[in-house]
Symmetry: C2
Subunit: 356 residues, 2 copies
């Protein structure tokens, strides 16, 4: 049975990427060696690292004012690396609280300076993206989480900020065009749209670094990694290779504009069914609906388990909602084909009929 | 042409591990999903995580007093995590300086307390392991680097220490039995003997943690990861799986005692030839020779490049010595078959004959 992978992350990757990754485990680019046992200082891997960086630059039109890094670990490590590198102890940073991950970024930042939450939808269980708030001009930066995996909300418009903008884009990075120059720092754990778990992409404006007066451990200082092309220490070789393949795939379909067109179409297909089908309803403000994580619940008591069983029996995998929202969450990242979304929509219609 | 992978790391892995890793990229354990796109919260991956931890415990007979963690990043991150977690600002830790990596661990530790280097072979370009030194009993811990990849030296006997012993075992971890109870903390980047680049194994005595009074970022606090079985955040799924496969392979050959027997035999084969062959000589003190990284130079001017070319033409890969030692370095990690060492030895003999 074909499995349709709606997992929230690590999430679905293109079939051709998995095929190439498998080949690299045996014989990488006809070197006679597996990429798993290959020196990161080899010409073969250095080419991968350069191509990965170039593809990020090309797809997002990143200027030379910014460094593009592939670091080990996940976005969780950026939660403290961002303030450690950008915020002096007597300075202030402001955050928008749009969910569990935004909250963690706030909690970790509090060690490094004065942190103020200027916007929050916590009282509404994070079902919307706050839009009315003032950004104090004396803040060092403003931090947002552009897509909220758990709640299924996404900033459809990036707020105008009078201070440097920092964004955790983990779950919608490379799913749509972004104007990088609107940001001073972007970070994204790879394991949603750009690769497997094990590395994080950081795009950082170089001239904002080195101003906190803080003595930062080498590995945690972005400036360590910039001249070393992310190879100050042994990088996560295989995850970076799979990222490179995934970025190549995004380029092969034409880049982020066609990628966004696909993602809009997939999201519309599913949200339209949720809105039409009397057995289901969405959980978030309509204007803030995420194109990546579609959250919905049933409208009748006692039918949730039944639909879950039906879905599983048709190869629909990973749609159980996060415990803090309940119901269902269908994650439809870049690599999710429209045909798999259609399978889910068809099942929702079949379920409606079966319920009379 | 068969390639014999003598790379210093990321280094050679067992063929069967690479084969299974490739299969997992396509269809992991008949789930119909690639492990690269699979949730770390899936039952299938949770089983991997548990087995990886169990195998470390079993192979090294690790007691329940210790936690076994698989963290993202490399040993370079442990250079600061160790003092961050173990050393209060007014406390002292002592280090043995046996090379570049030991040096980096010293440099990073200096941010966190008083660091004293009590032993060093720096003046002899790290060609031996210092053995005469006093360990002050008021030190919080004593740090050693058990194998020095660049210089080809290895502690053949672990020093007795009156204070907790901390060891960077990155390049000889799982190559021989170790009495874990002699140590309070062991860390090892995976990419030599236990897996690909992208994760680090940490074995830490639980009762030494949480005593510095320091407010540590969640991701950098070992205590965060212990109750979460190394899944506080999304772990490096694929690298951990490949580690698990490699640990399974070590178990399949009978564990660390037979592993050590093999490694002794391989090292002897190569060192015997270096000592016999008038064209070559070793670079380190004989009693401190590493079983993992065999460093040697030529005894005549101008023949080094010639031997390198000969070796490369026979599929010998990765034997160029580190620039700080020169000559050759043959890394013969666990997965290196004796037959490949024999190919190198045969070539050394052939080279000798060709030189008359």
């Amino acid at each position: 049975m074909k499995i349709h992978n709606f997992s929230a992350g690590p999430g679905i990757l293109p079939q051709e990427v998995m095929q190439k990754a498998a080949e690299a485990c045996i014989n990488f680019n006809d070197t006679g060696l597996s990429l798993l046992e290959m020196s990161h200082r080899s010409k073969a891997f250095e080419a991968v690292m350069h191509e990965a960086e170039s593809l990020v630059r090309e797809l997002l039109q990143v200027s030379e004012d910014y460094a593009v890094l592939f670091l080990s670990g996940g976005a969780s490590s950026q939660f403290f690396m961002v303030p450690l590198n950008l915020l002096a102890p007597d300075q202030k940073a402001v955050y928008s609280d749009t969910g569990v991950w935004a909250n963690k970024s706030i909690k970790e930042a509090k060690r490094y300076g004065q942190i103020e939450v200027i916007a929050s939808s916590k009282d509404a269980n994070y079902t919307f993206i706050p839009k009315e708030f003032d950004i104090p001009t004396d803040a060092k930066y403003f931090h947002i989480t552009t897509n909220n995996t758990i709640y299924g909300t996404e900033y459809q418009h990036i707020p105008k900020s009078p201070v440097p903008l920092v964004a955790d884009m983990s779950s919608n990075f490379m799913s749509r065009p972004v104007n990088v120059s609107d940001f001073d720092l972007i970070y994204a754990g790879a394991q949603k749209n750009v690769g497997p778990a094990g590395c994080t992409v950081v795009i950082v404006k170089k001239d904002i670094l080195g101003k906190t007066g803080r003595d930062i451990p080498s590995m945690l200082d972005y400036r360590t990694h910039i001249p070393e092309i992310s190879m100050y220490n042994t990088p996560p070789v295989f995850p970076i290779y799979v990222c490179m393949l995934t970025l190549r795939w995004i380029k092969s379909i034409g880049g982020l504009i066609p990628m966004e067109v696909r993602n809009i179409a997939k999201a519309k297909l599913l949200y339209d069914e949720i809105d039409r089908n009397p057995l289901f309803k969405g959980t978030t403000a309509v204007e803030d609906r995420s194109r990546m994580n579609v959250t919905f619940v049933t409208t009748r008591e006692g039918i949730e388990g039944e639909f879950m069983t039906l879905a599983q029996s048709h190869g629909i995998d990973g749609i159980k909602g996060h415990r803090s929202v309940g119901g269902f969450r269908a994650s439809i990242y870049n690599a999710m084909p429209q045909s798999s979304v259609q399978v889910l929509v068809d099942l929702m219609q079949e379920f409606e009929k079966s319920k009379g």
